[in-house]
């Protein structure tokens, strides 16, 4: 039974689970130093050069699980000693170069970086090479390979470089907190800070929802997660963990689609504002386009606001696939609506810290949103929902969306917009490949995820956005 994609995720999970377990038993302050030894019992090391380094790194992971460095505002942090200092040399010609006479590599290189030695073997001048990869793509022997660090390759917004001592380092002004590096680093040296302890504290201090009520807002991408059990069983588990009520974030998506349709028709052009990493990317890299970002809150924040209108004493904890949501929840405009963000990875650790066996739990229900709100979880869903919302409100405006799947496609679209070359009138920007189902906080990623989201969408009781909003007495101006 596959629980995670990689062992790095599993390691992070084990640390989180132990931290949560101690917190449940009120022994964390006394015992957190014991966790590294529990994870790496020794005497032989299994991951690093020696057991002492291995445990030192686990100790750093414990720190991240407990909230990380409080002085660093970024929710993504490098664990310096875990960084294996991968070689840094970009594209290199390997031994498979046959010294052919076609020299496609040289012809493909716009920068004149390729020359040949006396054996006709190709060489790349590192001072001229810009790592565009064109040479590699044309070599008939696949002899040219990229040796860009996995973290740097994962970070399409180019926020990652390395320090003099070769540790990875993050440019905080560029980082969008999307978590791509977290998921891609083969040594788990970059991690998202966990606020799981905050969530546990919120639940504990509610005193069984007597002092205030704690609501879980669950992202629709949950349909592609926890594959070995039913979504309904996860909902029951959330109640067992102490939540008062569990609500679909997709209902917030319905609200956003409804409002976004109006804003789009009024302004004539918009970029979506649901994906916090995309919004942060525009702010940092395309500041001139800032005004074109939809002024709507994200589905998470919109629903958090609505919950707090219906219950002023509510506490809202968002559970989803996204590390950037952790950053979004700290924003001035969102803070009052969302109290804490937990990823699916962290939820699994939380559930297991209580030894809850999901497979034997009864199936709870999760239903409020429409099909359109639910498919926000995958690329293209947001555009479909906005188009539907225009139709339902009888707004005479034709949306011509450009669906950008992944931050690279977003970048191309934004560059075009900046030069007034974009013919579409709506950019749906999702930083992760595939949309939210590709998020770094997911337990697993797979080709069937999109199908699972669509299936879950069709199961919604409400078939239109209007119905979904009507059923909860939502009014736009409140």
């Amino acid at each position: 039974m596959r629980m995670f994609d990689t062992y790095v995720q599993k390691l992070k999970y084990m640390v989180l689970r132990e931290v949560a377990r101690h917190e449940n038993e009120n022994t964390l302050q006394d015992c957190y130093l014991d966790i590294p030894k529990l994870i790496s019992p020794g005497p032989e090391s299994t991951m690093r050069c020696c057991i002492y380094k291995e445990r030192a790194i686990v100790a750093e992971r414990v720190k991240m699980a407990m909230g990380g460095n409080k002085n660093n505002r970024n929710v993504i942090e490098v664990i310096g000693i875990a960084c294996d200092e991968c070689p840094v040399s970009g594209y290199r010609v390997g031994p498979d170069c046959r010294g052919c006479i076609a020299h496609r590599c040289q012809a493909a290189c716009p920068w004149g970086a390729i020359s040949f030695d006396e054996n006709h073997h190709a060489h790349i001048d590192p001072d001229k090479c810009v790592n565009c990869g064109k040479c590699a793509s044309v070599c008939p022997y696949s002899a040219i390979q990229s040796h860009v660090r996995p973290c740097e390759r994962a970070c399409k917004v180019k926020a990652i470089s390395h320090t003099e001592n070769h540790y990875a380092c993050i440019d905080e002004t560029k980082c969008t907190a999307c978590g791509a590096c977290v998921y891609q680093c083969p040594f788990g040296a970059i991690q998202d800070k966990s606020f799981l302890l905050n969530a546990l504290k919120i639940i504990r201090e509610s005193d069984h929802n007597r002092n205030y009520r704690v609501y879980a807002v669950v992202a629709p991408s949950i349909s592609s997660q926890f594959v070995h059990v039913k979504v309904g069983q996860v909902i029951t588990a959330l109640k067992e963990l102490g939540f008062y009520s569990v609500i679909e974030a997709a209902l917030g998506a319905d609200m956003v689609a409804f409002k976004e349709a109006q804003e789009l028709a009024e302004k004539g052009f918009l970029t979506s504002s649901c994906c916090p990493a995309f919004v942060s990317y525009i702010k940092s890299s395309f500041p001139k386009l800032k005004e074109l970002v939809s002024h709507n809150l994200s589905p998470m924040a919109e629903l958090g606001r609505f919950i707090k209108q219906t219950d002023p004493d509510a506490r809202v904890i968002f559970i989803g696939p996204c590390t950037a949501k952790k950053a979004e929840a700290q924003r001035e405009t969102v803070r009052e609506y969302v109290d804490c963000v937990v990823t699916f990875e962290e939820l699994q650790a939380w559930i297991d810290s209580r030894d809850l066996d999901l497979s034997v739990l009864e199936e709870g229900v999760l239903d409020n949103a429409s099909c359109f709100g639910r498919i926000f979880a995958r690329s293209g869903g947001l555009s479909e929902a906005v188009s539907q919302a225009l139709k339902e409100q009888n707004i005479d405006f034709t949306v011509n969306p450009l669906v950008c799947d992944g931050i690279e496609e977003c970048r191309v679209a934004l560059l075009k917009k900046q030069r007034n070359l974009l013919k579409e009138n709506f950019i749906e920007g999702m930083a992760c490949q595939g949309g939210c189902i590709g998020g770094a906080g997911c337990l697993t990623h797979g080709p069937k995820d999109k199908g699972e989201v669509d299936k879950y969408g069709h199961e919604a009781l409400e078939k239109t956005i209007f119905d979904a909003l009507g059923q909860c007495c939502w009014q736009q101006d409140t």
Binding site: Y244, S245, I247, E248, T310, L366, D367, N368, C473
Partner: protein, 79 residues
């Protein structure tokens, strides 16, 4: 008067939407929009008795079929 209808997942599946629609329609028909405020609440903690509805804090259990009767015999006399 404040009528709150539970819109938690369980009550939603039992028909809170048709209840809200019926009540909204009746409130409008009777010209009571100024005096009756309809609102939703995510779960009232009594899912077995759903669909849960409160009138100024007092709890009732409804189904889509009993909504009209509830309005005529419980809501109207209290106004």
């Amino acid at each position: 008067m404040k009528i709150t209808v539970c819109i938690g997942s369980s009550c939603h599946l039992k028909g809170s939407r048709p209840i809200i629609e019926t009540l909204q329609m009746l409130v409008k028909e009777h010209g009571l929009s100024d005096r009756v405020h309809l609102a939703g609440q995510f779960c009232m903690g009594n899912c077995q008795q759903g669909v849960c509805v409160t009138v100024d804090g007092e709890a009732f259990s409804l189904s889509p079929e009993t909504a009209r009767d509830f309005f005529e015999n419980t809501v109207l006399p209290r106004l």
